[in-house]
Symmetry: C2
Subunit: 292 residues, 2 copies
DNA sequence: GATCTGTCTATTGTAGATAAAAGACAGAAG
DNA sequence: CTTCTGTCTTTTATCTACAATAGACAGATC
């Protein structure tokens, strides 16, 4: 296998959903636009649709013949890109499996275990190394530095510097800046989830990421925004891993976010700083509690 | 060619220098230690020495037979690792050659031009992407974001946050911390270069890197220390590129460093902050001046 | 004349192969 | 009994090959 066709399969599935809602599909370039793929892939999808008698395709006419059935979709496991698969496998290993700091990481072994070529694993490790959890010994193995207390402290130290600065920028954004609109939407979502916290507390993780990313973006600094990737990935896997008291923790964080949002909207730097600090401090404590 | 034997060639050259200074070489593990390579490579070197009648080798005895001649050394071009070659080629292209922001970067073309496989170019680009100068479009090309004014401003903004914090940590290091010793050495070097500035001003670039890295290390924060890589690479190539007024600029920076060092040694946080700010400001101005 | 389709070409993502380098282990030498 | 050497195995760095995907261009269609 040279290249996985996950782009095709994923776009195919999404296109099936579009197909379920109309009687004829738009032009190839438009489909490409909507699905975020090239015309080559669009045409591959349309060919398959035609083969399976889902549409009648003649040049510009793409009439829907029948509704898609559940088994027309590709299984979701097949639509994940290789790098997503590698990332998940790797994170499971280093967070769940007793991964001691100092442990050696072996490209070949990882590749065999995941069932993929070494090239992809290697590229993943290179990309991942910027998160500061692993380190390369040239001509030799990687070393796992581990998700330790020091790591968490160093991470939160930088996070706090960056977020405080971003929050300060946020309050001085012009009133017509789109971020205010976005902030309002996020606030609404907060209230909705909080109103039905027992059922919806799991949605917090994603919302948390959205909110803090919005704040970081106000810095207009690529290094600050990029750094948020590290925080996001750590918290993402951390939430998956450590579920104790999730409902209660999330409820508290949602309240803090609301106070933080209100402070941002006051346009008062001092208030924003205070609310930001308060939330960051409790986020840090939560993170540290989960590390032995 | 599967793997370049640059490790061998480089270690070989360094081993020749050792050989010039003794009458017999130490044990294989010890040589490996000194040269920073494995025993396999050490043995390859010794085999070659024996072949060329440089030593008589019998088990533990490795007696020097003759002094190395200049042509016993491998040419220096052959001792650079592939990634160094790629980095240099790439930086020359984006700094020197009229590289417009927004330009597409093509892995295959770069590889052809450098005369190497695509894998190595690809891995380089992935590693390099953390510097924020390029960005990947998945399944498609890379985009050059360019060494622009915004880039420089974003870079220096973060640099200033990090270095101020590191300097604050530095002044509170315990008196017996090895950093103080190191600082003293660096100060001496500063004075030496300054005393003979007309001849030695070119040595500033390397010293600058050493000094600021020492300061950043006081933060004990891997993200802060790692970030210094970006600054170092930018300034490194920037100095190579923009040589106007180098003597004068470097003399001024050396003076500022000395004031900064003195402030650090006073253990007075306020003084350190002031000296740090002053130097960072002029470093920023210098950088910005060179960007159109 | 703008947008679309058919066709063709170029580039990326990934696997597989191989030389270089690292590293493990047993027996030899001090 | 510690350190060294000889030998062997494993892993990394790199190249090449190829399917998936992107993208370009000319002619067709509205």
């Amino acid at each position: 296998m040279a290249k996985q066709n996950t782009v095709f399969k994923d776009a195919y599935n999404r296109c099936l959903k579009l197909l379920a809602e109309t009687s004829s599909l738009p032009s190839e370039p438009e489909l490409g636009q909507v699905l975020g793929v090239s015309r080559t892939t669009v045409r591959a999808i349309l060919s398959r649709f035609e083969e399976l008698q889902l549409i009648a395709w003649d040049k510009r006419k793409k009439n829907v013949l029948r509704q898609p059935r559940p088994d027309d979709y590709f299984p979701t496991e097949e639509t994940d890109s290789l790098s997503e698969i590698i990332e998940r496998s790797f994170m499971r290993r280093i967070l769940a499996g007793g991964a001691e700091p100092g442990m050696q990481i072996n490209e070949l072994e990882l590749a065999r275990e995941i069932g993929t070529g070494t090239t992809s694993v290697r590229e993943f490790l290179i990309r991942f190394s910027r998160f500061g959890l692993i380190e390369k010994r040239p001509n030799s193995h990687w070393i796992l530095k581990g998700f330790t207390r020091e790591f968490a402290l160093e991470l939160t130290e930088v996070r706090e510097m960056f977020e405080l600065r971003s929050a300060a920028r946020f309050v001085s954004l012009p009133h017509d800046h789109p971020a205010w609109e976005e902030l309002k939407k996020i606030e609404t979502l907060h209230r909705e989830i909080l109103a039905d916290i027992d059922n919806r507390y799991r949605e917090f993780s994603e919302l948390d990421e959205q909110f803090h990313l919005l704040v970081h973006k106000a810095s207009s600094n690529r290094f600050i925004v990029d750094f948020y990737d590290i925080i996001a990935i750590v918290f993402h896997y951390h939430y998956q891993w450590n579920k104790s008291n999730a409902r209660q923790r999330n409820a508290r964080a949602l309240e803090e976010h609301l106070a933080y949002i209100e402070a941002l909207r006051s346009h008062d730097p001092a208030k924003a700083e205070q609310a930001c600090r308060r939330h960051l401090q409790s986020a840090r404590e939560t993170l540290l509690q989960s590390i032995p």
